[in-house]
């Protein structure tokens, strides 16, 4: 018993130390957002004061709300990323499931093509993809932000790997009971795949939330502008005011943190297949 307790304390201790190391930049960013401009960098080398907003001020936040449309950009990003991620979860999980559990000619070929496409960095194809999208007449639309990325090789691969580990007996048992393929997928497989769905959701979300290049190329008007594009305005030409930058960055990080915190609890011992013993 004491051993268990000691182990627990150790785990907590290590976690706390490592966590502090990990969140210190974020803490710095948050405390800087509440400091007057002149203190942000001068405090950086003065030790702990870098993390404590002495001279607390809300000026930076006021500046952000007055001088930029950050709320609109956040709304835009929330909108198109949510649609994109929702579609992505649907389309890619289905494809991954088929590659994991179905049998058909060409299955291996398709899987290899998926892996091959996975290799391509966006930078390689961004120009030609842009050309394709413009040709479709999708310049300055949400469609251009969403559709090309719904199908994503990485996600298909991830889903496939996880679905492979779902015991065939489980599926077979349900099918013997008369359940159809589609029913099995949506009512049986998906509910026990919490971890992988959450992983894809979170990774996709942060990925697209921090995307800069693609939204830059395919959107133009204010009411399509994504949050990263809006943030960049603070970094442009002199003089750069870091106070509002910190405030804007804090505001942009909050939705992501909430998202993660909410979804990480679904990392439960999801595969309750442990119940099936033979």
């Amino acid at each position: 018993m004491r051993q268990r307790k000691r182990a627990l304390i150790l785990i907590y201790a290590v976690n706390i130390v490592v966590s502090l190391l990990y969140i210190s930049p974020l803490l710095w960013m948050i405390s800087s957002s509440f400091k007057p401009e002149s203190r942000i960098f001068s405090d950086m080398t003065k030790g702990l004061i870098a993390f404590i907003p002495t001279d607390f001020t809300l000026d930076n936040y006021k500046e952000v709300f007055l001088r930029s449309n950050l709320l609109l950009y956040t709304k835009n990003s929330l909108f198109y990323v949510s649609v994109l991620v929702a579609l992505s979860l649907l389309v890619n999980s289905m494809c991954g499931y088929a590659l994991a559990k179905f049998n058909f000619r060409g299955k291996n070929l398709i899987f290899n093509v998926v892996i091959a496409l996975l290799v391509l960095p966006l930078e390689s194809i961004i120009l030609s993809l842009y050309w394709v999208v413009i040709r479709l007449g999708w310049n300055d639309t949400f469609t251009a932000l969403i559709v090309p990325f719904v199908a994503k090789c990485f996600n298909i691969y991830l889903f496939r790997q996880f679905f492979l580990d779902i015991p065939d007996d489980l599926i077979e048992a349900a099918s013997i009971d008369g359940a159809g393929t589609v029913y099995i997928f949506f009512k049986l497989v998906v509910p026990i795949s919490g971890p992988v769905f959450c992983t894809v959701l979170i990774l996709d979300y942060i990925g697209y939330w921090s995307d800069f290049m693609w939204p830059l190329l395919v959107t133009l008007s204010e009411n399509k502008r994504s949050i990263q594009l809006g943030l960049q305005a603070f970094f442009t030409d002199p003089p750069i005011y870091y106070g509002p930058i910190m405030a804007a960055l804090v505001l942009s990080v909050v939705p992501m943190m909430i998202l993660f915190f909410v979804f990480q609890k679904y990392y439960v011992q999801g595969i309750a297949v442990t119940g099936i013993k033979g």
């Binding site: 960098f41 001088r67 120009l127 040709r135 007449g137 290049m213 970094f235």
Partner: protein, 431 residues
């Protein structure tokens, strides 16, 4: 399986068929009020934006019923986002009627036909009122392609207290500016790791060629030949190597930081800073109690001087459908009233000579220094189609030199690299 591949190919082909001819660059649109639509892009500079928005409003009020101008502020950020957007738009014929360009890129866009010559679209009067440096910046192959919204200038900002404490002399006129040797000596005297002599690097992008190219220009050197076609024999000639070695001294001897913080001078971590007037304005605003003062950009011992200049300009793109409308908009957005507005809001010297008359800000200390430089010593950056290669490569080379690399080798490699790109560019123009 074969069926599947055929299916895939069909889809791709369908895409082509579908798309071929689907993208005619839009003709000049007329909106609901019968006004001709004119589009304009500027980069997302938060400081300048209000002035531009106001001028656009004024234009629309003046030309109500005739024209309607919309301006979009394209994100640029700390990199070259704006340029990436313009390049891609040029690639797909999606450029606006009026496109803003950073000064040194004019030659590149002109050489590639992205913007059209303005010779017949700008009045002689207007041209005569422009600062000579603006005209040089906007000219390529003897044609005027772009008009600068505002000028810029860089001078030596310093910490008055530190200078007084050390008894440094203060230059009384531009001819009296500090020499290279003096700057070095002063920096050496006051430099400690906690407070270095001078801040030479403002950012790792365009600021490096912008701020430091004058050292080449004043030392019997230059970044390229006058027509922008050759780099070898210019940036790496004797004077150029001297300039490189001179700058290198500051870094290797610890008199300048390789990674200065954005507010190094204001935080008391350096005593001098080569910075443009926009930064000075920023310091005066955010650090009202800081003992800041300005003096001229250094000159050589023999009295040669040069100073940085150049800023954003505007031209008419190849996709502009209604030239008359574009011409009117261009004229309005760069007339004397406009340029004065841009200058005042950003703290940048105006691009029109007439704006200096009776202009208190630019005729009194501290901004006077910048204006003087502009009239007397300003040398624009090279007008070459491969500036977009020269600039980042120069930054790279200078940072390597600052870290101790061999100056001659670095500059030679840079020159060779740029000349190769120039040749490649020429080859891409051949039919």
């Amino acid at each position: 399986m074969r069926r599947f591949l055929i299916l895939l190919c069909m889809i791709a082909l369908l895409g082509y068929a579908f798309a071929a001819g689907a993208n005619e660059a839009a003709a000049a649109k007329t909106n609901a009020n019968g006004e001709k639509e004119i589009t304009m892009w500027y980069y997302d500079n938060k400081t300048m934006q209000p002035a531009f928005s106001q001028r656009v409003e004024d234009f629309n009020a003046k030309y109500k019923g005739q024209y309607h101008l919309t301006i979009t502020f394209v994100p640029r950020g700390s990199g070259y986002g704006y340029e990436d957007k313009v390049n891609s738009a040029a690639f797909t014929d999606q450029l606006p009627d009026l496109v803003s360009i950073d000064g040194p890129n004019v030659a590149n866009y002109a050489a590639n036909g992205i913007i059209i010559p303005l010779d017949d679209l700008v009045s002689e009067e207007s041209k005569a009122d422009l600062m000579p440096s603006i005209v040089i910046q906007g000219t390529y192959d003897n044609h005027l392609y772009a008009i600068g919204y505002n000028e810029s200038s860089t001078a030596l900002i310093y910490n008055k207290e530190i200078f007084e404490k050390n008894g440094f002399r203060i230059p009384k006129s531009i001819e009296d500016a500090y020499t290279w040797e003096e700057i070095y000596e002063m920096a050496k005297k006051i430099s400690t790791p906690e407070c270095v002599g001078i801040k030479l690097i403002t950012n790792k992008g365009e600021a490096i060629p912008y701020v430091l190219s004058s050292f080449w220009d004043m030392n019997n050197s230059a970044f390229t030949s006058a027509d922008g076609s050759k780099c070898d024999g210019y940036i790496n000639n004797e004077g150029g190597i001297e300039a490189g070695k001179y700058l290198q001294k500051f870094f290797v001897e610890g008199l300048a930081n390789l990674d200065p913080t954005p507010t190094e001078l204001q935080d008391g971590k350096s005593a001098m800073w080569l910075a443009n007037s926009g930064y000075l304005k920023g310091i005066l605003k955010s650090y009202p109690d800081f003992p800041v003062a300005v003096t001229y950009y250094p000159r050589t011992k023999s009295g040669n001087a040069a100073s940085p200049c150049g800023s954003w300009a505007v031209g008419i793109s190849k996709n502009a459908k209604d030239l008359e409308a574009a011409k009117v908009a261009l004229e309005f957005m760069t007339n004397a009233e406009s340029t004065l507005a841009y200058s005042t809001i950003g703290g940048y010297p105006p691009s029109r000579k007439s704006n200096y008359e009776g202009n208190e800000m630019w005729n009194t200390e501290p901004f006077k220094v910048y204006a003087e430089e502009l009239f007397a010593t300003a040398v624009p950056r090279p007008r070459t189609p491969v500036y977009t290669v020269l600039s980042p490569k120069f930054s790279e080379t200078l940072l390597d030199i600052a870290a101790g690399a061999d100056v001659k080798e670095g500059l030679d490699a840079l020159a060779k690299y740029v000349d190769e790109e120039y040749a490649r560019f020429q080859s891409s123009l051949k039919k």
